[in-house]
Amino acid sequence: MTIWILFALMTGAAVLAVLVPLSRRKAAETADAAESERLFYEDQIAEIERDHGRGLITAEEMRAAKAEAARRLIRATSQASAPQETVDEPALRRRRAASAVALSSVPLLALAVYGAYGSPHLPAQPLSARLEQTIDPRNLDIAEAVARIETHLAQDPDDGRGWDVLGPVYMRQGRFEDAARAWANALRLLGPDPARLANLGEALVNAEGGVVKARAREAFEQALGLDENHPKARFYLAQAAEQEGDVAGARAAYEEIVRRSPPNAPWLDVVGERLVAVGGAPIQPRAPFATAPGSEAGAALAALPEEDRLAAIGGMVEGLAARLKEDGGSAEEWVRLLRSYAVLGDRDRAQVALAEAREALAGDPAAVATLDAAAAEMGLGGAAPRQ
């Protein structure tokens, strides 16, 4: 509503600027046409006299020049007619018509044009104000999150975690050069890590349109130095060999990945394709396994015999429980522990773990909510004890 009042005020001011001179009985400043021309030629004559006074022209020249200026002056003033200040009937009618034009055309045109193109309901949205708004994670979209992190990093570029978070987002958005920059910064600030190095390499490769160049190769090799099994690093290095025309080397490299990978590793499909492309034997399909597909550890587990596997899982769950008890952890990790107990059918320990989790996360209502939701889903111990 206020915006329409503002518009009305602006329109009023504009119309008034026109109406005021129209309503005046006498025009404020009426320079007389004849008068202004007379002044112009008098000025010219004065100049001629001044030149004569300085000895620039002879008396005869002065007379001739003055005569010419005077002739023009007479001609000009005889033509000029002073504007009329009359308030006779036609003049009044004209004023009324002009006022009507001003009163109607200004607001009507403005409203018509603004109505066609304006968006009166939209407020101004300066970025700083938007970033200061309290964050409601439910409404946070990727772009906004990225903007917030970028703003944060612009102020504090040494926050490695921020770069770590941005990397995958940039990758998904196809901003490979930005992703490479983000991971390079994360590496610089947080230190080398095989996953980060491999991700950096991947971003560089994508930025080069799929070609593995020197910098990317360096990153992959460093990653392998830290974790000789890292499949992503191995895969891209194999690609590099393939791109260089080293078919035999590429085949060997792909076969090496297959050898080092657990069966049913998700990347095996792609590797198999490449392997066939460079003339290798297709990978033998193996029995699918249900547990934790897609996770490296899960795939490794799947390879174990039944009893060993249960023992191994039990051991991992114990390890997780011990770590969470000792160091604490996020709500997600606690939920994972609860699920593990639930899967193993150990409800008692699940209940104990739930209590421990509530205690550990007491300071964080959002985490407790997550926890409660998960517990309810698994049919574990009801509401949290109130303190």
Binding site: V18, A31, R50, E85, P90, A98, P126, V146
Partner: protein, 673 residues
Amino acid sequence: MLIEAGHFALALALGLSVVQFLVPIWGARTNDATLMSVGPPAAIGVFALILFSFGVLSFAYATSDFSLANVVANSHSQKPFVYKLTGVWGNHEGSMLLWILILALFGALVAVARNAVPPKLRANTIAMQGLVTIAFLLFLLITSNPFERISPAPFEGQDLNPFLQDPGLAIHPPLLYIGYVGFSITFAFAMAALIEGKIDAVWARAVRPWTLTAWGFLTLGIAMGSYWAYYELGWGGWWFWDPVENASLMPWLAGTALIHSTVVMEKRDALKVWTILLAILTFSLSLLGTFLVRSGVLTSVHAFAVDPDRGLFILGILVFFIGGSLALFAWRAPMLKQGGIFAPVSREGALVLNNLFISTACATVFIGTLYPLALESLTGAKISVGAPFFNATFLPIAVPLLLLLPFGQVIAWKRGDVAGITSRLYVAAGLAILATVAVYAVTLGGPALAPLGIGLGVFLVLGAFNEVATRAWQSGSGGVALAAKRALGLPRSTWGTVLAHAGMGVTVVGVAATAWSVERIVSMNPGDVQTIAGYEARLEGVFPRTLHNYNEDVARFTLLDDGREVAQLETMKRIYPARGMSTTEAGLETFGFSQVYISFGEIQPDGSLGVRLYYKPWILLIWIGSVIMALGAALALTDRRYRVGAPVRAKGGPRGSGSSTRRPAATSAVPAE
């Protein structure tokens, strides 16, 4: 709310400019002072509204308000603040808003100016300015609305074209636009005169300050654009005969002719029809330039076909104003009372010659710029018209014009005699020839024509000051002190002429000196030394750097003179990730008027660097000369005649009267030099 208020202000300005057009012109027809008095407040109101609107858009840029489509498309939250502001006019919509703002500014200036403009002329002029404003406001609101909103608003913008993220952008377009659009007011004056059917010396004087203002700014704008291209594009050229540049050169040439023809009109009441035609043509060429740059027709003929709205709209405006004004001209011009015809050897004869040459030169630029476009749209054949064409057509016309310029300055009004002219110019001519010979001797074996160019420049500078000297030392009377006093007592418009012509000479010297520029393209590794025109450049190394919204590779050079370190130079290749574009920043080091210019290409596989080294002797004179020209215009503007509304007793005399009446006295005078 603020943003929408800015948008509404534009719509309101449209309504008000309709009043600005209709009411005063009606008042002038019916000779009604009250109706005519509506013009000034309406013009000021339109200006205030558009200024407010422009301020709001700038505010939106400054605060990165990404709810505006225009801000999203041309800004970025991490951009340096200055470039957020200059980004306002670094795009189509914003620059059109600036265009209109300046249009309204000139209308408001005419409304408040206190100089002695007859009331009817003023009313009609304000009305015509209102008509131009209406056309462009409609164009802005309908096809290029800068206040288009996006909801929900994105959180980041797409960044401004990196080439425009440069201090050059901050000043170049506003200067250029003040020049372009300034000629709208002379156009409005010409239309007003045609409507009223009354054109005389008074009209010429009323128009003159506006022409001078527009011309001065256009000169600065073109010079800035040229310098910007010189250091931003990375290959050392300063004028490319590019259609965009030609689009600004054409109104400049026509405006130059107009400045000279209004002098004749003011002094001799002649050349009326021609002057009016020139005023129309000058603004038409400004409009044409706007059309060429804004319609996208230069980028691609297809752009025109794919997105024809803007192009067709501007074309419509172009046809309406050029066609309409020429039709009015054809109808009214025969009714104008012709002034006298005059002797070939006279100041007015020389000015006619000047006009003839300049308009011919302008015509060759026009043909060279539009012929390829016309040919392609008619036959589909694609040709390029480049520097060789313009060198072969423009220069043969420009050089004689410049050569004759000092003669025109000493020639008397009404009738001059050749003997008198030569007696006052032989010193300047002699010195210029001496300079030519000296330069030729020093640079023996170098370019043969360049010393002649230097000589021409020297002749122009000396010829310009010749006027001051002869007028100060007239009749051989008095000593140095008196002469100096007389020289200082000369009207400012005389000094303005002197400066403008001398500035032209300085520019000519700078242009001629480019013939001696040295260029080397080499591969360099860190530690390598290359010599360029007596300097040694040592590549210290290349390192990456991240700043603001770009990453760059920096090549650092040390410049040595006889083994002594004289300067550190950095040249950069910047990559702007938001647009994926790269730019080259040349490294420049100035020695006097000369510059060493270094830029680099790509880093070779073996790690060496492709480097371009230039030595540009006296290159700065090109732009210094332009600044002097603009200063001349500014000085002439401060002449009492233009400031005082109703001069009762003018102190300064117009430039012409002194020389016209000096004639007999001067024949007896011994030339001062």
